[in-house]
Symmetry: C2
Subunit: 401 residues, 2 copies
């Protein structure tokens, strides 16, 4: 039997999804599992998006252009205008979710051995996508103690080598919920300019910012326009993760041309998702406002509740719908698996994403978990009660040994 | 400005889509362009598939499992049963079109430098997908003179090196329309067994076979069960290329496990497409029968008509909906571009895919084009009239110089 690839062996499993078999087994035993592990909002998709689906009258569900439906690209350009991100439809390239946007941009811009600098913890799939094209992720450590603020720019400088090709920021940040300040972003801009790097900017959580600070996109940073490549997705803001529609936005025509070659090989992004996405942009203002208010309440509740549990700590995330919290355990990987396999409280348990998978440096984040606050308040409250009970049981069991 | 990747520079443009800007310009000049370049059928999507869309009543269009909806995988297992391909739902992995199936399997099975043996001409995107993970495509030449039959197995033997990891066959073949015989496939099976290779088998055109020979799938070849990885797609058989739903089918659990790691990084295949796909499998028998009859008529017409044009030759393809035809031109790339840029006949022109892009060996197939017969009979007839006129004009212009 021929062997699978060495990369396939080396590749880590997704920290977000690898515990899914244990969760399924728990469910099969009749246990209710609260999903704090995955960024799948429970918020309804905008009605205009669903209505567009029902109204589809095409007789043939055919391929669309490799860079997406022109009408969607037009609509997205208008959407970006709301944030003073001035781009033309030509500068927007539709992809199969932000996941594919990352893959296509990495292929278009990075050769095997090229390095990307990322503050860690970071969205785990950046590392997977980089591995798939042979690029190397180098990290600069951020810390829970200052809420995962941008590490000093000197730490980035030290990590730069002749193979460094790009800096990747997720802003607002997944998994930490941190929102970078203008000052921090200007440090990054100067770094990018000094070393002529790409700035890959994942801005899928743009709508989820809970501070009064003015919004700063990578597109607002002056003097590095051709260096900026932004990733976007409809999934989170319109609660439609399943439609698989994202985008690459860049003023750099050479990058777009290179992306197009790889994109043509996969023919076309999903037609139906694009129809839903286009309609969703017309959701009434009240929709995104309602979503915003819901999340800010959940965040406030979640963080307060975590910090009430003895030995737990979460900073106050300023954006997205995640927090990275410290738990009073030695090994969050083991604890998260234990919650699913060996624990239940009144027939319930919790599924969390161990933070180790969001760190590249081995051993970091071992007592941290990522918690997504994508459940409604009452569910979240019950989930946190279950977490507290789990921690108590786990500690007692441990102490008896 | 940072440089794009060397791979992005080296990567060829899709032979199927690279002339699209010229086609768009022609259309902007008011010229009707007959699309013989792309495998986008004009056949309506099954009504049951469209109806399933209209009936979607989910409030949240959420992620689905990384390997696809269990109900679709169950349905597909039943579908394969019609062809005596006995697989369980667990052995079916849903992907974003067959394109993604290729990418995931290449990542799961091949390391940079590993070689895949493919008869050429071959579907151009195999080469792109291989490049994206650093694998190397080695080709064995098939010939228009025997209708692109499988080259002698000795030619495969000669091409094998210590890095050869897989043989890739497309059956029925895109671009040639050839359907491999049981004898040919058994030669491949013996080769695969002798050298312990993967057999990657692209069977997306399974429904489009116009011979009386019994159907032979890679799953019917005995003794190489764990070596076989089949690619499939809903796009062609149900005329729903835009839904982006394909599959990897393999009994090899290690391959599936490796595929899962890469698939988790992209989270989920498209939800809406899967709903349409699942419903489409229930299309009445008359649907696929009607499609079949339509294509066989088109094929017969197309091939007869091509062979009536002086200097043109097409073998009779036994499957799929393409043929590779020889034209009386020196350079089909130039001729195809010329048709779009410089020619029109009664306000019409044709777009074809130059066959050079389907060959890996430079210089091969220079006077060949791939023609897709995805237009209805009358359109096809007009397109061929236009092609004949184009060839006459081109020859006259050439001779005058």
């Amino acid at each position: 039997m021929p062997e699978i690839s060495r990369l396939g062996i080396k590749m880590p499993e997704s920290p977000i999804r690898k515990l899914a078999p244990l969760a399924n087994e728990a469910k099969a035993r009749g246990i209710k599992v609260y999903h704090l592990n995955i960024g799948q909002p429970d918020i309804p998709t905008p009605e205009v998006g669903l209505e567009a689906l029902r109204r589809i009258d095409q007789k043939v569900l055919s391929y669309c252009p490799s860079d997406g439906l022109p009408s969607l690209r037009q609509k997205m350009a208008e959407y970006y205008g709301r944030f003073a991100i001035e781009v033309t439809p030509d500068e927007i390239f539709i992809t199969t979710g932000a996941s594919e946007a990352l893959t296509l941009v990495f292929l278009a811009c990075l050769d095997p051995g090229d390095e990307i600098l990322i503050p860690e913890p970071a969205y785990a799939n950046y590392m997977s996508m980089a591995m798939s094209c042979g690029a190397v992720v180098k990290t600069v450590l951020s810390s829970i103690d200052n809420g995962f603020a941008l590490p000093p720019i000197e730490a980035f400088e030290e990590a730069i080598t002749p193979r460094t090709k790009a800096v990747l920021l997720c802003n607002p940040n997944n998994p930490t919920g941190y929102v970078y300040t203008r000052e921090e972003l200007e440090h990054i801009r100067d770094l990018v300019r000094r070393h002529d790097l790409f700035l890959f900017s994942d801005e899928v959580y743009r709508e989820f910012r809970y501070t009064d600070a003015p919004y700063v996109s990578s597109f607002h940073l002056e003097g590095i326009e051709p260096n900026v490549v932004m990733f976007d997705s409809m999934s989170k803001r319109y609660s439609e993760c399943g439609i698989r529609v994202g985008a690459i936005v860049t003023r750099n025509a050479r990058v777009r041309k290179s992306v197009m070659k790889w994109a043509q090989a996969r023919l076309s992004p999903p037609l139906l998702g694009q129809i839903v996405a286009e309609a969703s942009i017309d959701a009434p203002e009240s929709y995104l406002k309602g979503v915003y208010e819901e999340y800010i309440q959940r965040r406030d509740f979640l963080v307060k509740r975590i910090n009430e549990i003895p030995g737990c700590y979460s900073p106050l995330p300023m954006g997205a719908f995640y927090t990275v919290a410290k738990l009073p355990v030695d090994d969050a990987d083991k604890f998260c698996a234990w919650c699913l396999r060996d624990f239940s409280y009144e027939g319930q348990t919790v599924m969390m994403a161990p933070a180790s998978g969001f760190y590249v440096t081995p051993g970091y984040g071992r007592n941290e978990v990522r918690i997504a606050y994508v459940l409604e308040r009452d569910e979240l409250a019950r989930a946190l009660d279950v977490l507290e009970a789990a921690l108590t049981t786990y500690r007692d069991r441990w102490n008896k040994r």
